[in-house]
Each structure stands twice: as C-alpha cells, then as structure tokens.
C-alpha cells in the first residue's frame, strides 16, 4: 500500500510496508542521504529530523505513523543559502568526520526555536542524546551560542 508523506515541502507517494522507519524511506527511497543511520535504536541522534517542528529520531518513526510535515537537513539550508545554524557551524569549524552533524544541527534547531538564549545546562539537556564519536562537543556548544545570539539579533 502506498503512503503519502510531505518532506521539505514536497509531497511523495511511497510504496513500502508501513513498518519501514522514516529514516530508510528518506535515505533509500527519496535519496535524501543527509539524514544518517548510526544505531537504529534511538541511541545516537544521527537520524534526527523534524516532524511538525518537533525533533524526532527518524529510525523510530514508522512510515505509517508519519504525521505532519517532515523537514530534513536538506530542507533547512543549502551550501549556497546556509541557515543561521549552518553558518555558525562553518564559522566554528565544528565538523570532524561530520557524520553526526546533520543530526546535531537538526536537534539544535529545535532547541533554539523554543529558547534563543539557552544556558549550558539547557544545551547539555537538549543535546546529550546526540552522539559524536569525533568529540566535537565544545565547538557544537560554541556554535549553538553564536547562532542563538544571531537569532536574538545581537
């Protein structure tokens, strides 16, 4: 049976079983490979996307349960038109291998949408589900603060 999903403002009909996780719909079916597979069990955050503005682990959302509009890293900015977070990520040279960074940015975007002046503790709280094996945490924190002050118009 075909399901219909809206991703980055575009509607797609997907002919896959309803239990296939959104992650694998995005990656294999829609070719949106910016969203990464790290664990498949909600333990790393590499697969984080937005569903109606909430950060969700796309490895845990079955196709049949996708409700509302999905936004992926490709939907928030592009190399020629970077989003405020992506600009901060480049300014702080955050990435090392970079594999976790789509998920980090998507998680941070939801934090900042709700709170544009997060404390260190609030950043820790929001970001601790996102693993980075390269250890870029210090620069992620700095980039989040830069983006936050940008958003506050400072």
């Amino acid at each position: 049976m075909a399901y219909s999903v809206i991703v980055n403002g575009q509607r797609f009909d997907v002919d896959l079983p309803g239990d296939v996780p959104l992650l694998w719909v995005l990656r294999d079916e829609l070719g949106l490979s910016g969203t990464k597979y790290g664990c498949g069990v909600s333990a790393c955050g590499a697969c984080t996307v937005h569903m109606d503005g909430e950060a969700v682990r796309s490895c845990q959302v079955a196709l049949e349960d996708v409700a509302g509009e999905v936004t992926t890293i490709e939907g928030i900015g592009t190399p020629d038109a970077l989003d405020v977070l992506q600009k901060a990520w480049v300014a702080h040279q955050v990435a090392q291998c970079g594999y976790c960074q789509s998920g980090q940015i998507m998680q941070a975007a939801v934090l900042l949408a709700a709170n544009n002046a997060p404390s260190d503790a609030e950043i820790d709280e929001a970001m601790s589900g996102n693993l980075c094996r390269c250890g870029t945490y210090g620069r992620i924190r700095a980039a989040i603060k830069t983006a936050a002050s940008e958003m506050r118009g400072e």
Binding site: W24, S33, R133, C134, G135
Partner: protein, 744 residues
C-alpha cells in the same frame, strides 16, 4: 564529489590522448619516478600527481582519506602555499588508488624523543618490506603520518608546478614574473591565468631545484585554515560511503558468523526469502547477505535467516581469553626494547611496589557503520567506500571476485570516522562477493550497527605486571611485563599472508619508548596467540601502554611522597626538555598546585606517541548524581604547527575518544560471541559528560609529529589518576564505570 567519476577506467581510455602524464617534477624521494596515475579528461592538464588544472581552475589531489582529521584541507594547503592559488578557489579530490601515493612516513617511522631511537620500528618495517610484494603499496591513511609524509612532497609539487607555469608564461610576459591568485603576473601588471598556461607548462621539463618558501613567508601554513569540507558537512551534502547512489542500485546487508573466524554449517532462508522487498539471499561461506529494495527490509530479513554456525577458534569467554593472555607472561618475551640497568634487584633502602593492570578489548564504533558499494561487470569490479588503504582493498577485493588488482577501481569517499577500522579490507571483500553474485547490478552493502560492533578488529585486551621502586623521592626501578595479542602480526598476516618474525615494537609503544630517566628500566612485550581479530585502534599499542605506564608512574610518585606532576617533570627533563615543557604548560594552564579541595580530584599523564608528546591534566568532581569529568587541559608539541585550530580539534577529539573508552568501553565474550551490540552497551562521552577543554600547541619539538592519535593515550591514565586523587581508589582495570559511579 561528483567529479570523482571522471577518473574511472572509462574516463582513462577516452582521455588518454590529452594526457601529459608522468611529469614527476622531482617530487619523489625514490630514484625512479612512479607513474603519474592521473589521466584527466580532455581540456584538463596534470602537472604532477597532485595537481590537475583545467578551465575551472586548480584541483589538488589529496591522496589521504578524510575521516575527520582535516587531512584533505591540510594537504591542499601544502600545495596551495607554493602554488599561489586563492584558498576559496581550491578544489580537492582524494584521487585514485595508486602506487605514486605511497606513504613514506610509514616506512621511516616517527621520531622518538631521542634521535637514533627510530630504529626499532624501522628495522621491523624494513624486514617486512623486503618481502612485501610491490603491488600492495602503502597508500595508507594511518599512523598519524599523512602531513609529515606530505610536508615536502606536496609543497614541492606546488612549487615546481608554479615554476613551470612561470616558464610557460615567460614567452608572453615580461619579467620579472610573479604569481598570485592562480595567475602569472608580468612586470607591467598584465596577468595570465594558470588554466591558460597549463598545457604549455606540461610540455616543459620541470625545474629541478626549486627552493621551498621559508615559514616566515607562509600565507596558509601555520594559520587556522577553513576546512574545504566544512560547508558540505554542515548541510548534509557530504557524500560518505553509506550515501553512494547508483542507477539501478540494490540495498543489501550481511550477517556473518558471530564466532569470529568461524564458518557456517548450514542455513535456512525460506522465511527470509518470502519477506517484503527481499530479492535474494546469498551464501558467503561464513555468513549470508540479503539483497533487497530497502536497507531496513534487508536488515529484517537477515535476522530471519536461520543459521547453524561453526564454533569460534578462540576461548569462548572473556575469562578464557584473559587466561590465554596471562599465560604468556610466564613465557619468554617477544621483545625487551627497553632494558637498562638491572630491574631484578631492589636497591638497598628503596621502597618496592608492584601491581597488575588489565584492560579489555575495545571496538572502534565509528559513527558511520561499515559499508561498501560494489559493481561487478564480468571483467571489472568497482568499489565505493570510505577506506584508509585503497591499494590493499583493491588487491583483496580482486581476490574475492576472481579478478586481478588492476581490474578493480576503488573510489574513496568521506568516512564517518575511521580510527583504524577502515584500514581493514573485510567490508570490501564481502561487497565484492555480493556483487559477483549479482553481475551488472550495483549493490550497497550496509552493515547494521549490531553487525559492525560484533565484527570488528578490536583493540586487544592486555595485561601488565608492573614492579617498581622509589628511593629519596626518585624512581630507581621500573619493570613492566606486558601481554596482549599482537595487532601488527595479525594485520600483517591479513595483508601479506604472513607475519614477519622478530620483536614487535607496536606492542610496547607507549611504554618502552617514554622519555623517563630511570636507572633500572625494563619493558618486556609478551605476545599472546589468540585468534580474536584485533586491529589498529586509534593510537594502537599506546592505547593500553600509555595507561599502564602513566598509572604506574603515578603509583611510584605517591610511593615516593612526591607531587605527581613534579615527579614526572624531574624524571623527564634530563631526557626530553620539550616534553618537560609540556608538563610545565599544563601545570600553568590548570593552575596545578598539587592540592585539590574536597570533592575535586586532578590527575596528570604524559605520553610520547607518533612523534608528538602530549600532556594532559583531567579534573573530576563529585556531584549529586555521581562523579563528573569537569575540565581538561592539554598541551602538545607537534614541532611545526601547520594548522593550529585543527591540531587543537584533533587533540580534544583524541582525548574524548580515550576518555569514552576509559569510562565505558568494554567488549566482552560469551559463547564465543561479542556481547555488546549497540551504543546502549557501548556508550561514549556526550555533550553533558564531556569536559570543558583547553588546548595549547607548542613548537619546541625538533621533529614534526602526528596529531590524529597522540591525544588518546594520556587521557585514560590522567582520568584514573584524577579518580585516585578524588577517592583514594587506584583503578587498575578498565572501564572505570565498573569501579566508580559516574553522573550520566
């Protein structure tokens, strides 16, 4: 990464007429220039193996793979520095697998703290090299060697190309000529772009004695350079092995015998074959592959195959494995690469202490699980994956597909972490087998995280028996006996089919080669013959020896009633002033007084590895929900700091990798299988548990050292020493989460 397609075998044939190949520009240290592997398309010109110039501008080939260490940007900066191209205009490609890109530093080895101490590794590798078939080549990204190896080669490539371009411009411009922003500029200011001069330059015999610019004239080197991969990695557009997408591609996964090295007696795939999206189940001999229309459907079906496995060729439990390792301590050592004075005697009036340390097997757990994509077309095989050794990979994949190595093309993509895991060819071998069973169909073979964690080439478990003595505040005896399976012997056997005999220096690195002045000093290496696959794990032997050595030095310092930082300083200063300066640097950065208030602990450690000494101070603190690692101070000395920001990032990342292992990392065995499956059983530091870190990069070391690995070894003992300071409990076993209550 789209341009990489241009260097496929097909492109070679089409474009060979336009090629100015083999112009080596005096780049090579070896006598005979190796063939320039670049065969660019029509309209593009290659001046040497590191450079392609076409109408769009300059493309620099960085033949070391990007796994997060920033190597491609670094290598490009070396060329760009001499070539005078604007940084924004530089494009970088990994380039093909080719002998021309051998890594010379792997052969010469890193500088030890004393000149002349390089010999152990050199001799070992030279013995090995005598017998390595030349076809295997050493295009390897590993051992923290890339920049050191490239430092001269790639600057020379840029400089000779620049001079050739100037010669080509000499007919059209009046001198003196200078170069800037990708153009040659005449005395009157008129300029010609490199692109216009490239074809003529390629016909000019390259100037032989180009002089490299002194560091005082550097514009890019020595500065914080923006990385060329940063925008792609911040927008989800960087292409990793897992992201490869080819026309008509199928999605597959593998399930290999969890009794590592064992085969498969039989299997029943009848349920799996009927599952949604499943196309085929393929017999791989030691496991199966499922080919499907979607990776997740392949994962589900692979789990549904009923398989009767053969047993493991090693003891089935962690205890059994440790017993096998421990047994070798009673046998003759493989090496005593440090043997000074007589450690069997305890000097009169000295205080003797002894201790036994144990560390577990560890997984690499790269963020991107293992994967490779392959296409077999009867007489050719193409492979796409992130890898640290493309020539080895091509060779092994060729064997698996029944082809010769020159029928295999390897495309190297970004790696979502390497840490040594992607130096292994197993992933490509399996992909080649799957592709061979599916001719003319590209197949992406993606491993599940569980498969990745349970089929690694692990950092070996190790045991150390330490004995020492102190007298009048000084260490007078240090005796270490270290037992573990040999990474070098196993991996060389995998690559070459046999292991060279003789002492294995990698097994004792981090213990036998440290700059401590101790009169009676002996380090013996005992090799255990255990068949659990082991491999290069970030910093290799240093990862356990650093812990053993620096934990026991701490014990000696306390036995001597000395401050642990001052104790190290006093023993190191006579042999390695640059290393002593690092201890002074972390003392000043951290405000070390040797005293900590209640509820706070501090530990220090220093390890010389890969040519770079690194000192770290770690601070821990009690909190309501357990112990936290609050702060870390790192000082390192790389000799010449070519990109300070990137060096700081590598040092911090290397430390966090080590702290993660020290706190949580443990691979255990039951019934011959690895018990850990995924991050919940093999966790790492996270945003809230990682320390706030400060890094200082010094330049007193007379040699250039590596940066990718040296941050890891001192982190584990520094943390254990800090916990001793906090709690009075000495950790002689890892992971520390078994002994201490950490805040989550």
């Amino acid at each position: 990464m789209g341009r990489i397609k241009k260097y496929t075998r097909r492109a070679f044939i089409v474009s060979s007429a336009a090629v100015a190949g083999g112009v080596a520009f005096g780049v090579y240290m070896s006598k005979k220039p190796l063939e320039n592997p670049l065969k660019p398309e029509a309209g593009a010109v290659t001046l040497n193996p590191y450079l392609i110039i076409d109408q769009e501008g300059v493309t620099i080939i960085a033949p070391r793979a990007e796994m997060g260490q920033g190597v491609q940007s670094m290598l490009a900066a070396l060329v760009a520095e001499e070539l005078d191209v604007a940084w924004e205009d530089v494009r970088v490609l990994h380039g093909p697998a080719a002998q021309a890109y051998y890594n010379g530093e792997l052969i010469t080895g890193h500088a030890e703290y004393e000149d002349g101490k390089r010999s152990a590794w050199q001799e070992f590798v030279r013995d090995a090299m005598d017998v390595v078939p030349k076809t295997l080549g050493l295009q390897v990204t590993g051992g923290s060697t890339a920049t050191i190896d490239a430092f001269e080669k790639m600057r020379l490539a840029g400089a000779t190309a620049r001079e050739a371009l100037k010669l080509a411009a000499a007919e059209r411009l009046t001198g003196p000529l200078r170069t800037e922003n990708g153009q040659v500029i005449g005395a009157d200011g008129s300029a010609i772009a490199y692109a216009e001069l490239a074809e003529a330059a390629a016909k000019i015999a390259p100037p032989e004695d180009v002089i490299l610019r002194p560091s005082s004239e550097w514009k890019y080197l020595g500065r914080d350079m923006p990385r060329v991969d940063m925008v792609a990695k911040s927008t989800g557009t960087a292409q990793y092995g897992a992201d490869v997408r080819l026309e008509g591609m199928k999605f597959a996964t593998v399930r290999i015998n969890p009794h590592l090295g064992g085969g498969m007696k039989s299997y029943d795939a009848s349920t799996a074959e009927k599952m949604a999206g499943v196309e085929r189940v393929i017999d791989l001999g030691n496991g199966i592959a499922v080919v499907a229309s979607n990776t997740w459907l392949a994962f589900q079906a692979a789990d549904a195959v009923d398989i009767d496995w053969e047993d493991a060729p090693y003891p089935a439990t962690t205890d059994g494995l440790f017993a096998a390792i421990e047994k070798t301590l009673d046998e003759a050592p493989n090496s005593t690469l440090r043997d000074e004075g007589d450690t069997s005697l305890i000097p009169e009036g000295a205080t003797e202490i002894s201790a036994e340390y144990r560390v577990p097997y560890l997984a690499h757990a790269t963020m991107e699980p293992m994967n490779a994509t392959a296409l077999f077309t009867g007489d050719a095989l193409e492979i796409w994956c992130g890898n640290q050794a493309p020539l080895v990979l091509a060779d092994k994949a060729a064997d698996a597909a029944g082809l010769s190595a020159d029928q295999v093309t390897v495309h190297t993509l970004f790696m979502g972490g390497g840490f040594g895991r992607r130096a292994e060819a197993d992933v490509a071998i399996l992909a080649a087998k799957v592709a061979k069973a599916m001719p003319d169909v590209p197949v992406k073979v993606m491993w599940s995280r569980e498969e990745d964690m349970r089929h690694d080439f692990y950092r070996p478990a190790a045991i150390a028996r330490m004995k020492g003595a102190v007298k009048d505040g000084e260490a007078v005896v240090f005796d270490a006996r270290i037992a573990a399976p040999s990474v070098t012997k196993q991996s060389m056997s995998r690559i070459m089919g046999f292991a060279p005999p003789g002492p294995d220096p990698a097994h004792v690195e981090g213990a036998a080669n440290q700059p401590y002045d101790i009169a009676n000093y002996r380090v013996a290496g005992h090799l255990a013959d255990v068949d659990v696959p082991v491999g290069f794990w970030r910093s290799v032997g240093n990862s356990f020896n650093g812990f053993f050595h620096e934990s026991f030095i701490d014990e000696l310092a306390h036995a001597a009633g000395a401050d642990p930082l001052q104790f190290r300083f006093d023993h190191i200063a006579p042999l390695s002033p640059p290393t002593a300066k690092l201890l002074a640097a972390v003392r000043d950065m951290s405000g070390w007084t040797g005293k900590t208030p209640d509820g706070i602990g501090r530990g220090v450690a220093v390890t010389w590895s890969f040519g770079t000494p690194v000192a770290q101070v770690i601070e821990v603190a009690n909190s309501d929900d357990g112990i936290r690692i609050t702060k870390a101070w790192i000082a390192c000395d790389v000799g010449t700091a070519l990109d300070p920001r990137n060096i700081r990032a590598q040092m911090e990342g290397g430390m966090i990798y080590g702290l993660s292992a020290a706190m949580h990392g443990e691979i255990t065995f039951a019934n011959g299988e690895v018990e850990q499956e995924n991050f919940p059983d093999y966790d790492a530091l996270r945003m809230g548990t990682a320390p706030v870190t400060e890094v200082q990069v010094l330049e007193n070391n007379p040699h250039m050292g590596g940066v990718g690995e040296p941050g890891t070894p001192p982190s584990m003992p520094a943390l254990a020493n800090a916990l001793f300071d906090l709690t009075g409990k000495r950790a002689r076993e890892l992971p520390l989460s078994k002994l201490f209550d950490f805040a989550g």
